[in-house]
Symmetry: D2
């Protein structure tokens, strides 16, 4: 009951004077109680706010009041509101051969800790089909063999079209996606990269880490945009290594970091805590 | 100039509906622009808020408006405001024999990174006098030899009376303070404890850590209240250790953690980011 | 092939002069090549050594030579050798209601990353039966309802007798074990405790952590001996928390730490890297 | 006394069978007791060993015995031994304008925790002269103004020639050194780089980190070789940041990491724990 009664308002747009005051004022007039409010103004003057509040209300009337109040009482322009974004997101997970990130998501999903529904798993190999089938989730094997990159991506897009997922989660999907593909899911593809970006972009980061002799390895969860390994970073974590660990050992150790970082990033995104400001992820 | 133009409003009291709205409304009416606002409502219903804003204003009028608005427009009772608390705090540092935390504070002070003025250093030994004198700060050697605990504390209090510090910083002061002493500085004494509290309260925590065979050691900066090692925790950090490290090795390694944790805690306190809710420190 | 050719020699006993020299000498005479050697002498004079070497040899002749050499060439007494301890250990996992540690072990086992065979899972509830059955592992529901502690433990021991596991892994088994039970598996029971021991021994550590207002939480994997939460610590890790997180939030966050720490500790134990010296775990 | 009686033997060269056995055998015959032995064989077949032992001995005889034994009893070739390398190293510290790393070293030196003697401080600015003079250490202001890079480096080399330091410590020396300069101190220049290398090589790493929107910053202590920011990494550490922190805030926070990482790296180097294998630092 209390949980059903907790609401979220997201706000994003150019900064203006009095935004917090007027928005909280509208909530106040509607008899709603702010539990937590977090806002951020970027150095370039963009305003982001995430408000948790409780109470009963009429969504349409509230949004109308918010927009009217801003337009009549402030200089604000181009502000967008999102009221109570859908709690559970629909996602499709894409993988290649490694199981650890996928398994982590499947277990969380099975025990209702993912804040999302995994509609399907898509892979360019069929080796993880057995794992996925344990959890009763559709598995689509879309091989890249004998296909051009474009043909392969079109085959994947046809599969995704069945599910219309809100987010694509690349849980160690090891092929580069073309800008054309990415354009179908703007800021809706989340990737786990097996290095502490921007160190070791590209292939074989643990090999690179070994060669460079680093003392710490890491993993990065980020949105995918047109430039490979260049999208907004949502979460990162690291782990100490030493000279005895070869690239393969680092890769093994790194898996634990990768799967936890990916899960934490997804939790933030699925709980509507992440805004995108240029190439930076704002976590409120 | 920009810096002079940045202001801070702190607010603390029982929660009530509309607090954020009405306070930001008063700021809005005075033509002030909120840069950052952070608030917290404890599970027991206490409201804390820290607001950064910019613009020119009349302090007295602003505070009067804030109090009147809350009393006429809301059910709020017992709210206290602090407007632009003094930027640089006055502190006295108390030490015993170890230099590392004291040296850290002296260096930060010398390079204007402490957000406080060190008025004096008080010690029950004279071994750190040479270090302190390099920085031109009064050093008071108040030996405990031949004195009862009460006599010793009275002697310290007499010395402190010269300086009237806002905060006492116990930078490895290794004697227990009586409740009578602590009562003179309610929530104004900050201690660094050389363990990850509440593990290893009391004396010789590194010896205890070694005996217990822990794999991680730590340090805790906290306010001192009547119960030793029991006050609100401001900051903590840890460091990995292994079986080869004896208690003395851990103590050596631990120093780096202690001095950094203490400095970070002081920065939070001196920047008016720390509120106290019962036995918990709220960091906004 | 190379892997089959890699051997491990473990050595444990009172320190004496020349141990490393004579042991490596025996290996040298048998034409074996030391790849890695790690030894530790405790402050109380106990010697531990773990040697990795490669080459072909006769186990019986090698062990005989080792013992004879030490007894004739050194003053060493009471040294025990273990040569090539069994690679994959047999384990039984005990759980109560929480799934996360168990799921982590099941996934690692399914993908051959556990260095052990999970013979069975025993629980005092039946809620995790569905998860376990996905992986084709026997699940034994041994309820404590209507049984005395002794009766319950006897029922568990009867179940364990079927499997004769080398190790019992308590993957969030939430009942205290009696010394009588523990005596059946000396230094062979590994528990994950959901706090940074020795902070917060006993029940509800996250509740305790919340009440104390700590800024960091943690988890501890340790051997179980007669005293609850007091056995040798194998591995620990921590995670930052803040004042907004209630005990339940900390528990949720803590799960990620718990499962990774448990897995890491098991990897060390199952790879024969952990020696026990009094109440301390030596990790070579 | 015990301390004087503890000795260190370092060994470096191509791997061969029986090295550990024969070396520990020589020590055994000389009546010496190995306290700790750590060795490493790189994937390219290079052998490194660091042995701590105790007892009384004749250095010349011991080294002769070591060399003879290896040449007659093994196939080892090109092994070099270092017996009891000088305990306290002589160093010169080079800085530009930032004080924090320098101050850390000065404090450690003043309290005999540096394992080295700071012979002098050299800077291309004179702003840190006051700090250095507090500690009675010569300060050389060698301005780069009006000089070519070569002229400036020659002026520095002339200053260094007075002191003949074993190591140069670049404690935030912000100018690139030429290969010609570096050649004078092969593997004897240690730099602290204010990023988690190899992320953000070059200038303004915190600016780069801010622009990239990373969630973790770091610092790297490394040997300097011909390629800037490319030498063997000795130690690294990291710290979490968030979207509210501008480049300047990150730089401020990063200082604490930088100075501790540099100190830890120096401790390792000055205690003769660091070997160089190609572009990798082996820490034994």
């Amino acid at each position: 009951m209390a949980e059903l009664d907790k609401h979220i308002l997201l706000m994003d747009g150019p900064d203006a004077k009095g935004l917090i005051h007027h928005v909280t004022g509208v909530l106040f007039r509607h008899g709603l109680n702010v539990i937590h409010n977090d806002e951020y103004v970027s150095p370039t003057g963009r305003f982001f706010m995430r408000t948790e509040f409780e109470g009963a209300f009429d969504s349409k009337a509230l949004l109308q009041d918010l927009n009217e109040t801003l337009s009549t009482q402030t200089d604000a322009q181009g502000i967008t509101f999102r009221l109570n974004p859908k709690r559970r997101k629909n996602i499709v997970v894409m993988v290649t051969k490694e199981h650890h990130c996928l398994a982590e998501l499947l277990i969380r999903y099975a025990f209702d800790e993912l804040d999302a529904d995994i509609l399907a798993v898509v892979s360019n190999y069929n080796s993880l089909q057995g794992l996925v089938s344990k959890f009763g989730i559709p598995f689509h094997y879309v091989s890249h063999e004998g296909k051009s990159r474009e043909e392969h991506e079109e085959a994947i897009l046809r599969t995704l079209a069945i599910y219309e997922p809100e987010y694509l989660v690349l849980a160690k999907y090891m092929r580069v996606l073309t800008p054309e593909f990415v354009r179908h899911y703007p800021n809706r593809i989340i990737n786990i990269h097996h290095s502490f970006l921007p160190a070791f972009v590209g292939a074989n980061p643990y090999r690179q880490a070994y060669e460079r002799g680093v003392k710490i390895i890491g993993a990065t969860a980020h949105f995918v945009n047109n430039d490979l390994d260049e999208g907004p970073i949502i979460a990162q974590d690291v782990k100490e290594v030493n000279h005895r660990q070869l690239a393969g050992d680092m890769a093994m150790e790194g898996r634990d970091v990768e799967k936890i970082v990916l899960s934490q990033a997804l939790k933030l995104v699925f709980n509507d805590r992440v805004f995108i400001a240029g190439n930076r992820a704002i976590v409120l």
